[in-house]
């Protein structure tokens, strides 16, 4: 009888520990940084030769994905209206790795021809203070043209922004 009670007690202790751990994890999650608006700078690729269409596709997809992820005020590179915004966060993106791949190779072999791109995303305040820095990659493995990797990157980068920044009306 005692053995059954002791086993039951242990079981309930274990259950409590496992149930409480996600709650504790949620508590330790860092608070989101307040961002009234985001300004996206043009993608830089000084050290890696990146075709112009990739550079533009990365930039355009990034802006679109940020807007679709609830950032109501996304400013483009050089937009004068961004200068007067309080709590503005500036996103600088630098290409760190690029593999062109081949759509034909992907479709013929399935296992080769992957297009991949790695971009260092740095979120800063307007004065240049770094708020967050993270590498984000985009890939296309099977279907679609090579530029689809830019869409994959943009989705992931917008997710990173979504996880770390809060905007008014979307906490």
């Amino acid at each position: 009888m005692n053995r059954i009670l002791s086993a039951g007690f242990r079981l309930s202790v274990f259950t409590l520990i496992f149930a409480a751990s996600p709650l504790l994890a949620q508590k330790s999650k860092p608070a989101k940084i307040k961002a009234a608006a985001l300004q996206v700078e043009m993608i830089q690729s000084d050290e890696i030769k990146l075709p112009a269409e990739f550079q533009v596709a990365l930039y355009e997809n990034l802006i679109r994905q940020l807007e679709e992820n609830g950032f109501s005020r996304v400013y483009r590179d050089g937009d004068r209206n961004a200068a007067s915004v309080a709590d503005l966060v500036v996103l600088h993106s630098t290409v760190r790795g690029f593999k062109a791949g081949s759509e034909r190779a992907r479709q013929v072999t399935t296992v080769s021809g992957t297009t991949s791109i790695t971009v260092r995303c740095q979120f800063t305040s307007p004065d240049g203070t770094s708020l967050l820095e993270q590498d984000v990659n985009g890939k296309v493995r099977f279907f679609g043209g090579n530029l689809k990797a830019t869409y994959d990157f943009a989705k992931k980068a917008a997710h990173v922004a979504n996880q770390n920044f809060s905007t008014p009306g979307r906490e």
Binding site: M42, E47, I48, K49, P51, A52, E53, F54, Q55, V56, A57, Y59, E60, N61, Y75, R76, D77, G78, D79, R80, N81, V95, R96, G97, F98, K99, A100, G101, S102, E103, R104, A105, Q107, V108, S112, G113, T114, T115, S116, T118, F143, G145, N146, L147
Partner: protein, 176 residues
């Protein structure tokens, strides 16, 4: 004997003309060019088909009843590249992948060459935009030259660079 020689000469000349004329036509592109706008023009959906021309210093894109203009003087970079796309694309191309005995893969080998035109321009507020177009071979460079003549800036000069996306052999990954 003479008639046979003449026939052979005419045949060779026709073949040569057949090879040269399409290239010459592609280089001309004085009128509107059929293009696909991949992304970037304000108010135009991605992958919109239409015609592109340079009129009065404006890059003029017409899609159905709607049209979009970008001033050449607002362009801070115009770049061209050579690319290729599947000859059989779209839904049929996707469905063909399920064809037995690798039939769809064979179709993937057939590709058509295209040009890409990438334009970076600024709006009235100074915001930077980028637009990408695909078009028939030889037309992008002509449009680029017209835009540059009307005040567009370009960082790259000379012949179009082969786009990385067009390469049939996978390039080595570049890393910083």
């Amino acid at each position: 004997m003479t008639s046979r020689t003449t026939t052979v000469l005419v045949g060779v000349a026709s073949l040569f003309a057949g090879l040269v004329i399409p290239v010459a036509n592609a280089q001309r592109a004085s009128g509107p060019v059929k293009v696909v706008q991949l992304t970037g023009l304000v108010g135009v959906k991605d992958n919109a088909k239409g015609t592109l021309s340079v009129e009065n210093g404006q890059l003029h894109f017409v899609h159905g009843k709607a049209s979009s203009d970008v001033s050449a003087s607002s362009m801070q970079d115009v770049a061209t590249a050579a690319d290729s796309q599947r000859a059989v694309g779209g839904t049929i191309g996707l469905m063909s992948m399920a064809a037995p005995y690798g039939g769809g893969r064979v179709l993937s080998l057939f590709r058509t060459k295209i040009d890409t035109l990438t334009v970076q321009y600024r709006d009235a507020d100074g915001g930077l935009h980028g637009a990408i177009f695909t078009m028939p071979v030889g037309t992008a460079e002509v449009i680029k030259k017209e835009l540059v003549a009307h005040g567009a800036h370009t960082t790259a000069s000379g012949e179009p660079t082969p786009a990385a996306s067009s390469s049939s052999s996978p390039n080595k990954e570049q890393k910083q």
